[in-house]
């Protein structure tokens, strides 16, 4: 009996021994919460410029911690080095708290970085468990540093938070689409698809370095301005090849079956007023069909769009929205959507020659053997010449709350 008790005591002591030291314990107040990460590439010096936007947590004194936090616009520091880790190490030299990436919402990549060092940057973010792959990635035609340092004077919000919200809201009209790091990695990895990512622009051209500069570290960079998310960045392999504007992004959205909620088209212009129709898109179904006839590849895009009419201004229609009018509207809607798709195809297929539509992936799904044996290697040459047939079937299921135009007395 005594032996058993002794053995139990020994086991408890042994279990307690490794629990005395908490190797990973860290106080919340000792963390700098990273909200957004920006990466730029300086072509002249071949340096990587890393910008971090963070909220320095502080102990709540009077009032709650959240109240204190809301007053804080966040800090943006940036540092340049030949490696990303070198830049990170430099930033840690000026921040007295440990960087915590658990709440990182967005990764902003500048144009030059997207063109020159994208793959190693993505590899680091993908391999490191600190950054969640569910956070968004966004590209900017200028510098990522400028995007992060933009302070929106209209509301007290950190640019990282603003950007992530903008990404979620902007997709409703198809001007751009949110892409997570995970989705971007998938597009980079999957054969037959080229990657795309949302594009963010800022009105800020040059930032104020409020905290001064020391050893290529810029402390507290910021300036008042406005952020906008519009269009998409298109890639070929791991390099940025061009930008898609709103119309082309919308076209890509139609082809790939993205969820688009609002749509408008403008018809003939008469003076200051034009024929206009606004729709709420209730359902979109896109099908990419690959055909292989006598070794020639062709693509059929079948798109079914179901809409509700929200507003329309027209001169040629009758007061009542009868079937004839709706039929005309449907035709115009189909033509307008076809125009968007054609614009996207012209840009992606002919100009950029990048399969951002995933036609190659659809080919692989239909003919996996042929793809692996032949077409995967030749796709870059085949893709720009593939004929694409577009069929848009639009239907308007209701006309909103009214069935007549507004009649002015």
């Amino acid at each position: 009996m005594i032996g058993r008790i002794l053995a139990l005591v020994l086991c408890i002591l042994l279990l307690l021994a490794p629990m005395t030291g908490c190797w990973d314990y860290v106080e919340y107040n000792d963390l700098a919460q990273i909200i957004a990460i920006g990466i730029d590439f300086d072509k002249q010096t071949n340096n990587i410029v890393l910008s971090l936007q963070f909220i320095p947590t502080s102990k709540p004194s009077n009032g709650s911690g959240s109240q204190e936090q809301s007053k804080n616009n966040g800090l943006v520091h940036s540092a340049a080095d030949t490696t990303l880790f070198g830049a990170l190490a430099k930033l840690q030299q000026v921040v007295d708290k440990n960087f915590f990436y658990g709440y990182s919402k967005i990764l902003v990549i500048g144009e030059d970085a997207a063109k020159n060092v994208l793959l190693p940057m993505m590899e680091i973010h993908d391999r490191s468990p600190a950054i969640r792959a569910s956070s968004y990635v966004v590209f900017t035609p200028g510098k990522a540093e400028n995007v992060l340092g933009t302070i929106d004077s209209s509301h007290n919000e950190i640019s990282g938070n603003t950007l992530s919200r903008l990404l979620e809201t902007v997709s409703s009209n198809g001007a751009s689409f949110p892409v997570t790091i995970q989705k971007f990695m998938e597009m980079l990895s999957i054969s037959g698809i080229e990657a795309v990512g949302p594009c963010a622009v800022t009105t800020v051209k040059e930032l104020d370095v409020k905290g001064g500069t020391i050893d290529s570290i810029k402390a507290n960079v910021q300036k008042e301005g406005k952020l906008m998310v519009s269009g998409l960045a298109a890639f070929k392999g791991s390099s940025l090849v061009g930008w898609l504007d709103q119309k082309q992004s919308l076209g890509l959205g139609w082809i790939t079956g993205k969820k688009i909620n609002a749509y408008k088209f403008t018809g003939s212009v008469s003076g200051a007023i034009s024929d206009e129709a606004y729709f709420r898109v209730t359902n979109t179904k896109s099908k990419i069909k690959v055909k292989l006839i006598n070794g020639n590849v062709s693509i059929d895009i079948d798109l079914k769009v179901t809409c509700s009419l929200r507003k329309y201004y027209a001169f040629n229609y009758t007061d009542f929205l009868d079937n004839k009018d709706l039929s005309q509207l449907k035709d115009k809607l189909s033509k307008s959507i076809t125009g968007d798709i054609e614009a996207a195809l012209k840009k992606g297929q002919k100009e950029l020659q990048s399969d951002i539509f995933g036609f190659g992936f659809e080919f692989y799904r239909k003919y996996p053997k042929l793809w692996n044996q032949k077409y995967e290697k030749e796709w870059d040459e085949i893709f720009p010449e593939i004929p694409v047939n577009i069929k848009v079937d639009a239907s308007i299921t209701n006309t909103g709350t009214n069935i007549r135009n507004l009649i002015v007395k």
């Binding site: 042994l14 990973d24 468990p129 990695m185 992936f361 799904r365």
Partner: protein, 367 residues
Amino acid sequence: MIKKQKLTREQIFFSTFLGIIGNIVYIHTWISNDTNRASWLASFAGILAIIPFALWLMYISKFNPEGTIFDTIKQGIGKLPNCLLCIIFITLNVCISATHINMFAEMLRVFVFQNTPAPVFMFIMILIVFLILYSDITTICKLIEVLTVIGLINYFSCFVFAFPKMINIKYIIPIFDTSLPRLISGLIFMTSASSELLLFLMVIVSNIPDPFKHRSWVISGIISSAVVFSLAILIIIAMMSPEIAKRIAFGGVNAARLISVGTYIYGLEILVIGTYQFIALGKIIICMYCSWTSLKRIFGEKRPHLQLAFTALAIFITAILLNSYTKSYFFAVFLGRYILLPFSILVLILASISVKIRRNRTGSVAK
């Protein structure tokens, strides 16, 4: 011979289930390059292919229902060859548990406790298993039963949140995008890696009441593990694409990290880490129990707890010597690829020969 404690149907079912889900949780990615999208199918068929060997084992145990397979070999071929087999068997079990505990510890270090030394996790896990093994086999199997159920609930309750938004059917269909020889090669690897179950059955068979008659208990466990494991791989592929899934170290945890619930909960990996922990605990229990039982066959029932302590120490030392995820991964792949199934087949052949010898000697067949 001493009458062995017999296990219930549920205990056998869950023990079989966990007997298979061992190192394959980590090393299944080894076949992904060959099998591509069909890796879940190769896993499913590979696990099912273990059934004939399990049936063979249970058939042999019919002739010695109260003993382990090694007892049968001892009675037929002799003490010395049996002793040699037991030493290899113990070594294999020690290696399996050491690789598994290493991969689990490093997974914790990657995702949760970056600064905590891996030996701390190893030590705590082994100590817990050591304390559990102080009990009798029925209690151990009851614990395995509970661990498996909680683990499964954890795993699938996490991935429920991935439906339907995060599931991409285009990543699954077409299922076959590989050649038949490559699919078969993946299937063989999975069968061989699943042979961890056969090692467990070699010992636990003495605790199954009338093993061959109740073979359905084991078979249903194997089928269930094949379904659950291949379903888990299928979900991971559907969420991440086969291209990404084949290059990640911890499929389930990585996939769970992508799931967000609303705007406040980012990542449900904690649930899947819990499942991996239960699997690790169950696997080490199984391996340590098998090693300990075989050690008792060599040294007799003298000071059994000292023998158990020795087994625990052997696992701990081997795990410390490995002390690397990568080393453990490739070592587990090596075991799965070249050692486990050939060794199991060798044991089964020797056991069959032993039965034959015994029949020739006695001129009768035991029931």
